[in-house]
């Protein structure tokens, strides 16, 4: 039920992502475009303003030109009337400034063909006017007043000046029209800039709104999904906890079962053993009676009767005794393991090197001539008692199954890697046949020649302990060469509440 809902959700999320991206990307593209247009408009507006200023400069220069021409004329008149250097100076300055100003005007209007034409037509007139002025001044200076008067009276100068005034007026009118045009353009450019800027602003606001909405929607979808995921997770945790509780309950039940079974089996066993002993006592009495009987009446003695009392009965009683003794040991083993399973583990920092040394010391008497080497072992946080039993069993086993034909060598080593610690007990003993590598860990199962005491409990016990400690145990062995038992444990045993 949950799976399709998840898929749909996932799809909608992806779709939402795509939907949210496109208008946003488009909006940003338009925004960039608006920005570019803005930059272009600002630049063109500056250009227009420059042109307006340029037109003003042209008009001012044209005015100055007229001014210099008039200054030259004014100076000439004054000189002609009164003579003297003052009026001559004014005249000469006007003349000197006229042509450079005219040339400046030509430069300024170089891009305007119609104005250039006007100026080109003006140039000979200006030159003639200046020449006429110079001529009158020269004649006056030479004292030829009559000729001077005649030249002035010819009205040539006035005609030339009027012509120039008219032409400069036309020139200025042309420039004024241009200025008006340019001013208009600059104004409309400014308005366009304003409009585009405002449009850009509006667009930014719109994009911000769209972006905010889509992000909000996206976030909401993510939140929704994560909430669902969390729900699923808690659900999962709950389910795991439930299963774990079930498993723990089942495990507890098995342990209780093992405990009860082993206990209840003991009661009949006491009877079997007790009455077997009673039987044996009776057999003793019977044997004595038989001996007394045949001493009195030897003819009663038969081979069969003797065999019954002296062989069959002891044999039967012997088998019953050994069998019950064995059964008792097995039951004790089950009881021990079931008790071990119920013990609460208490993790603590354990110095494994010291622990291994202690273990070796305690089995020193069994080790005989065997050399046991303990390399530095990484410390671990785990249950000390369980570790003692694990290491004790492994080292004891190594000693127990040494090959008598060669001196025993046992090495206990350990390394730490990726949050786990590994301890290995390596021996050069008789080894385990390949088919038995897994079997040696089974309860009541043993490998190889059954010439050593034991019930096949040690390794089963070790494996149960290692599993409780959250670890694993493996064996590598070559028959006739030796074995290595490797225990892998978590670096830190997590403390578990109660039985586990």
């Amino acid at each position: 039920m949950a799976a399709p809902a998840d898929l749909r959700n996932d799809d909608s999320l992806r779709l939402l992502g795509r939907q949210g991206q496109w208008p946003l990307a488009l909006g940003f593209a338009v925004l960039v475009l608006v920005g570019a247009i803005n930059v272009w408009l600002v630049r063109s507006s500056a250009e227009q303003n420059e042109r307006v200023a340029h037109s003003f400069e042209v008009r001012a220069t044209a005015n100055r030109l007229l001014g210099y021409l008039q200054q030259a004329e004014t100076g000439q008149r004054g000189y002609l009337l009164v003579g003297g250097d003052v009026y001559l100076g004014t005249h000469r300055e006007g003349v000197a400034q006229t042509m450079p100003t005219f040339e400046k005007l030509q430069q300024l209007t170089a891009d305007n063909p119609s104005q250039q034409r006007r100026l080109a037509e003006m140039r000979p007139i200006i030159e003639r006017r200046l020449a006429e002025l110079d001529r009158t001044v020269e004649l006056k200076a030479a004292g030829r007043d009559t000729e001077t008067l005649a030249l002035v009276r010819s009205d040539l100068g006035k005609r030339l000046m009027d012509d120039l005034r008219r032409r400069l007026g036309a020139f200025d009118a042309g420039e004024r029209r241009l200025l008006e045009l340019r001013s208009q353009r600059a104004d409309s450019g400014a308005i366009l800039l304003l409009v585009v800027t405002l449009a850009g602003l509006a667009l930014i606001v719109a994009i911000a709104v769209v972006a905010y909405r889509s992000v909000a929607r996206y976030t909401r979808a993510i939140e929704l999904t994560s909430a669902e995921l969390q729900l699923l997770n808690t659900d999962l945790e709950g389910r795991v906890a439930e299963r774990t509780a079930d498993l723990t309950a089942a495990n507890d039940e098995i342990q209780r079962y093992a405990y009860i079974v082993s206990h209840d089996l003991r009661a009949p066993l006491v009877n079997i053993m007790g009455f077997t002993a009673e039987l044996n006592a009776v057999r003793g009495d019977l044997a004595a009676f038989h001996a007394a009987a045949i001493a009195k009446a030897p003819e009663l003695d038969t081979k069969e009767a003797r065999a019954m009392i002296e062989e069959d009965l002891p044999e039967a009683i012997g088998f019953i005794s050994t069998s019950t003794a064995k059964m008792d040991r097995l039951i004790n083993a089950i009881l021990k393991i079931s008790r071990e399973g119920g013990r609460v583990l208490t993790p603590e920092q354990v110095d494994m090197t010291a622990l291994a040394e202690n273990v070796v010391r305690s089995i020193h008497h069994q080790a005989g001539e065997a050399r046991i080497e303990i390399k530095p072992l990484p410390a671990v946080v785990s249950d000390r008692l369980a570790l003692e039993q694990v290491l004790g069993n492994l080292i004891e086993n190594a000693v127990k199954y040494l090959d008598p034909s060669r001196p025993g060598e046992i090495v206990v080593s350990g390394i730490e890697r990726h949050g786990v610690t590994e301890y290995a007990v390596t021996d050069n003993g008789r080894g385990i046949a390949p088919g038995d590598h897994e079997r040696v860990f089974d309860l009541f199962r043993r490998s190889g020649t059954q010439d050593r005491p034991g019930e096949g409990i040690g390794l089963a016990h070790v494996r149960a302990l290692v599993r409780r400690l959250g670890g694993t145990i493996t064996v590598t062995s070559e028959f006739g060469v030796g074995s290595t038992f490797t225990v892998t444990l978590p670096k830190t045993l997590l403390k578990m509440g109660g039985r586990a």
Partner: protein
Amino acid sequence: MNPNPVTIVMIEDDAGHARLIEKNVRRAGVCNEIKHFADGTSALAHLQSDAVRAEGPVLILLDLNLPDMSGVDILAKLKADEKMRRSPVIVLTTTDDKAEIQRCYDLGANVYITKPVDYENFANAIRQLGLFLSVMQVPEPE
């Protein structure tokens, strides 16, 4: 010697065990009367009857695993009884659980013996118990 010789009340559901206990107690030279009950109900009925309460001293051999009730309950009832609470109770059972042993002593058990599965030890323990019984003093009923 004693005007009212001590009666041994054995509460033991396993007939075999009862027989073995009796045999070994007798082998130790104890010849007191042994009354055997196979369940808790009949044992309690006997022990709480006026005749027994008024009569002579009693020593109780108690097994904990009984079909109808736990021996611990019987122990608790005996130790709560005004007249019976001075009667020595010897718990003789297969359970060697530490918590159980403590509980029995807390309730006032006088001796706790785990039945050894090894018969030699079992017989030995019972015989020693028999020797112990033959020398121990049991209080007179008031």
